[in-house]
Amino acid sequence: MRTGKPTVAALAAVTGLLLTACGGGGGSTEDSKEFTAPVAENPSFEEGTTMAHLAEQGTITVGTKYDQPLFALKGLDGEMRGFDVAIAEIIAGRLGIPADRINWQETPSKDREKYIRDGTVDMVVATYTINDKRDERVDFAGPYYQAGQDLMVRADNESITGPESLRDSDAEVCSAHGSTPSERIREYVDNSRLVLFDSYSKCADALSNGQVQAVTTDDAILMGLVSESDNEFKVVGETFSEEPYGVGILEGDVDFCEFVNKSLRIAAKEGTYQQAWNATAGRVSDRTPELPELRSCS
């Protein structure tokens, strides 16, 4: 019986539904924190800007996911790990805020715009795809990573080879509520074959139990799930979309946006961006990404 992991995820998921606090999957304990972002000493900012406010306050609230292996995972020891976490720490570091002064706020896909707009968080770094609709309600700095949508199936599945192969099959596909991939996959499967949960860890359980035949989301997230699955799952084919991950901030805060972009550029130049990748997602990926071309802030 494969009871261990689903049970833990199951218990966590009940809590998750009630408290929107959910952390299936558990943390990998073997990796101690290998990445530490440089912290600027007494940085100065123009009066009245978000940066000046945050730097003076000495702390920042960052919205991220808690259940996204490789990108943002809250371990059983309470330690946050992942590439998103590292990016947030790089930005906080430029504000003179060390990693242990960051308040992490779990931010599921569906709550990201809301948390930014109502001030629950100062910024969101949560595998957050930049798109036009979202851009109307929040602003994006970055992108800091270029992901793409892909499919994950059980390792012994030969019939699903890409999104096209889903069209004529009766396979059920799992994704997360309110995510971009869940919208795009509708081109290939109709509503009745789409199973949606509030987190991808539940999708992985569903795939493991055979309730669904495929899980779809960004390759970055799938890589993480595969890495935790003990070779039970695999990622198929080529990516079929471009998902630029941005840092979500309050609409109209051009200064903060430019500051984040500058922080990313400096991190890429100094090599901290690459270190952050290698210490996190880079552990299961052969390639080291370049910082994508940043958008203009205004």
């Binding site: 609709k133 109307e136 309110g178 869940s182 199973v195 569903a206 055979g210």
Partner: protein, 216 residues
């Protein structure tokens, strides 16, 4: 309100999914609830005990737990079905406890003389219940039964969190999150969608109530 007009297709499909979920669940829950009510008034002790246990379990477990058990525990135990089926059955089982109690209260409201008369002309327990007691009981329980069923329609929103694709509530989530529409108008649309289902359901129940009403 632009949101409602621009996305009426999504809303309609959400309403349809919720409606189907509730129709299947409603039929199933009425059947199961009636059977369990029969158990609870049965002369056989094991059946009575089973009925009582059933009501105790499903009336006292939160719906979230019932649905969670259906969607995540049954597959681990080797029982697989689609999430729509799990959602429908979970909702029906949960509601059946309340349906059972409503029906049982109706059964208790039928004067004992009716059952005695039925037994004295030689009808068995099942015949007494099915032909004499229940037809009279149903007339007085339409209002509470209606409330139970309308509560079920609203409860169906929870099934959306357990993989049932695209019910009305989750359609709202989809519009506000994936497509980035403003939350408040989207949720007003969701509320209207539920009203579109529940108000006609209430009117229908009122009609049925008038049709079967008897002056005693």
């Amino acid at each position: 309100m632009q949101v409602l007009i621009a996305n009426h297709g999504a809303y309609l499909s959400g309403i349809a999914t919720t409606l189907w979920l509730c129709l299947y669940s409603g039929v199933l829950t009425l059947v199961v609830g009636t059977v369990i009510a029969g158990f609870r008034v049965s002369p056989l002790t094991p059946l009575r005990a089973f009925g009582t246990a059933w009501v105790t379990v499903f009336r006292n477990c939160p719906l979230v737990v019932v649905l969670f058990f259906m969607a995540f525990a049954l597959p681990v135990l080797g029982l697989n079905a689609s999430y729509f089926v799990f959602g429908t059955v979970g909702l029906a089982l949960y509601t059946s406890a309340f349906v059972c109690e409503a029906i049982r209260s109706g059964i208790n409201s039928v004067p004992a003389g009716q059952a005695e008369a039925a037994r004295s002309i030689g009808l068995g327990f099942t015949q007494t219940l099915g032909l004499v007691i229940l037809p009279q009981a149903v007339r007085s329980i339409i209002p509470p039964l209606g409330s139970v069923l309308i509560a079920m329609i609203k409860n169906s929103a929870i099934a959306g969190a357990f993989g049932v694709g695209g019910d009305l509530y989750m359609t709202g989530t989809r519009l506000s999150s994936a497509q980035g529409e403003a939350v408040v108008p989207v949720l007003i649309g969701v509320a209207l969608g539920y009203l579109i289902i529940t108000i006609p359901a209430g009117l229908l129940l009122g009609y049925v109530e008038r049709k079967v009403a008897i002056a005693r």
